[in-house]
């Protein structure tokens, strides 16, 4: 059941209970008052009739020494006749025996009406399925024991009570209908934000992460919608980030499979060729060269991949390291290459130490040097500077090689990307160098910025932030 339906039922039930209790009380009070009124009138009439009846009997008894019981009805009859039209009946008992009655139904027994001389008995009583008001009392000043009973038909009072009750019920029903319509409209209006939020949440659940609600009200719904929109923003950015990562991963896997399949295909093909084909000595040598070459390439690739993945898990030792000694170690590893091209290093270190892992930093510098040396021609120059920038240390590696255009610069961090495919591959380069560099910089909280200008050279800036 929807919220507005629940609220509707609650309000309607409360209203009906309240309305019914109130109207019952009012009708009841009204009835009580009418009854009291009725009793007062009846009492009056009862008194008048009794009074004149008593006088009549008294005056009659002056003529006779004793009251002739046979004459009594004739004293009373005129009253009975007169009041019958008003649905008032009278009865007279002498010595507990009824001597006269204008009432057509069964008369009540006197013994049912306990009262003593000088008092009145007043009661509403149901007789033969009808409501009557009974008033009984002894006639005064008479030697004989006369009881006068006044009976009034109160059907009207009952009918009035029933009419009032029916009227109250009808009013209740009519008001309920009107109230229902107003209430439903109001509840639908009030709960509209809920259905908007509901729909939006459903859309987001289905994958439409751009969906927003923007409910401009100052109540809880407005607040909730703002929080909801914030949440949706966060989810959207997260999802985007995730899908970006997934895409990057997929590209990495695609490239990796290409990088692995090609040498495998070559090794396999040349192996088959050597086994099955009838070829000359020269071709045989070429095949063997390719097999060795491509196997080396695979070996290099697996080593680099291993380095990349192990960096993610290793606990890295952070310590103060001399930049000079890092450079020296990297130079030693690349000794042959440097000598071959007669590369000149120009080193100017204003900041001497950085915090980091010496092995990783060596690998970082070695990668940068290797790239620079490969790009440089004979007698090329590599310039290394370090300086403080606030709390940070900036290390710059600059070469005067051929540089690269802007379009290449954007792609160089992509795994397996090589600027000059044919050339790097003959060295067995896996195209993972800069990926490894970026990883190392990330571990050291260092920013890596590479700028380059064709014909002028490439500049690498490593910003070691002191975080």
């Amino acid at each position: 059941m929807k919220f507005w339906q629940k609220a509707f039922i609650c309000v309607i039930v409360c209203f009906l209970i309240g309305f019914d209790i109130t109207s019952y009380m009012i009708v009841r009070k009204n009835y009580e008052m009418s009854k009291a009124n009725e009793i007062a009138t009846a009492d009056n009439e009862h008194y008048t009739i009794r009074k004149s009846l008593t006088e009549r009997i008294l005056s009659a008894s002056q003529y006779y020494t004793s009251l002739n019981p046979d004459n009594v009805p004739q004293y009373i009859e005129p009253y009975a006749m007169y009041y019958q039209t008003q649905k008032i009946y009278i009865a007279l008992y002498q010595n507990n025996v009824p001597v006269y009655t204008s009432f057509t139904g069964d008369l009540p027994q006197l013994s049912d009406m306990p009262f003593v001389f000088g008092e009145k008995y007043v009661q509403f009583r149901n007789m033969d399925g009808k409501q009557y008001l009974l008033i009984a009392s002894y006639l005064d000043n008479l030697e004989s024991d006369f009881v006068f009973v006044y009976i009034k038909d109160e059907e009207n009072l009952v009918k009035h009570w029933q009419n009032s009750a029916n009227y109250a019920i009808k009013i209740g029903a009519a008001v309920s209908v009107v109230l229902s319509v107003i209430l439903i409209l109001m509840l639908l209006g009030l709960t509209r934000p809920i259905s908007i939020l509901n729909k939006a949440a459903g859309e987001i659940a289905k994958g439409n992460y751009q969906k927003r609600v923007t409910i401009k009200s100052r109540d809880e719904f407005g607040e909730f919608s703002r929080i909801f929109d914030n949440m949706a923003d966060n989810i959207e950015t997260h999802i985007e980030k995730l899908s970006h990562i997934t895409e990057e991963k997929q590209r990495f896997i695609d490239n990796l499979s290409h990088e692995m399949r090609t040498p495998v295909a070559a090794v396999l093909g040349y192996g088959e060729l050597l086994k099955n084909a009838d070829i000359g000595q020269e071709e045989r040598l070429m095949a063997i060269d390719y097999i060795i070459n491509q196997s080396l390439r695979l070996q290099n690739l697996s080593a680099k991949l291993l380095q990349l993945s192990s960096m993610k898990e290793d606990v890295i030792k952070m310590e103060a390291v001399y930049i000079g000694s890092i450079i020296e170690r990297a130079q030693n590893t690349l000794y042959r290459l440097i000598k071959e091209k007669n590369i000149v290093f120009e080193i100017n270190l204003k900041a001497e130490m950085v915090i980091g892992d010496i092995d990783l930093l060596e690998s970082l510098f070695q990668n940068f040097f290797e790239n620079a040396i490969r790009a440089l021609s004979q007698n090329g120059k590599i310039k290394i500077c370090s300086e403080y920038a606030g709390d940070d240390i900036i290390v710059t590696i600059e070469d005067n090689g051929p540089g690269m255009p802007q379009s290449e610069l954007q792609k160089i961090f992509e795994p397996f990307y090589r600027i000059d495919k044919a050339r790097t591959r003959t060295h067995g380069g896996a195209g993972l160098g800069l990926s490894i560099c970026r990883q190392i910089c990330d571990i050291h909280n260092a920013e890596l910025v590479i700028t380059s200008e064709p014909e002028k050279g490439t500049q690498i800036q490593i910003n070691f932030t002191t975080l």
Partner: protein, 219 residues
Amino acid sequence: MAAIMVIEDEPAISDLLALNLKLVGHTAFCCGDGSEAVELIKNINPDLILLDIMIPGKDGFELMKEINPFDIPVIFLTAKESIDDKVTGLRLGAEDYIVKPFATIEVLTRIDTVLKRCKKSGIIFRFDNLEVRLEERTVYLNGGLVELTTKEFELLEVLIRNKNIALSRNKLLELIWGFDYTGETRTVDVHIQKLRSKLELEDKIKTVYKVGYRLEVHQ
């Protein structure tokens, strides 16, 4: 037999393909750059193109669109193995799609199939005193017709199409008698003996120790 262009940026792979193609009698041309390929195709007008997808200059799919107007059959030969790439390649009009790493015999067989389908395969094969008309399925020795059974002819055709490459008995069984053939490799030996004696090929169809048979023809 056919001029085949290999568009592949890895010299290891393109050399390998070129070597194998030459061995079986095709002429091979290599190209390692997508942007130069179209010009070369125009000059050479090859019978078939082996095309890699990840190549510098222009990628294989793009190149495929430019090759289409020349009406030259293309076989993709690539490391991209996803169904999407295969479908893209075939949709673009390629005749076949081979994923690296590949077996040489598979590539050669597929090339033959495509050439046959496109009616570009050589139909007459001659060497020394022998002439094999592949279309008519007839063989002439010293000008006279030689009767061969169906299987013998098929065996001869496979040997010719893969000449200078050794084929194992199992491979031959698979290619000629089909995968579900339950016979033994002896069957191959018997048929080879018959071919040798009928066509005077004793010294041309060589038994390669521990491998199988090879038809050696040096042009």
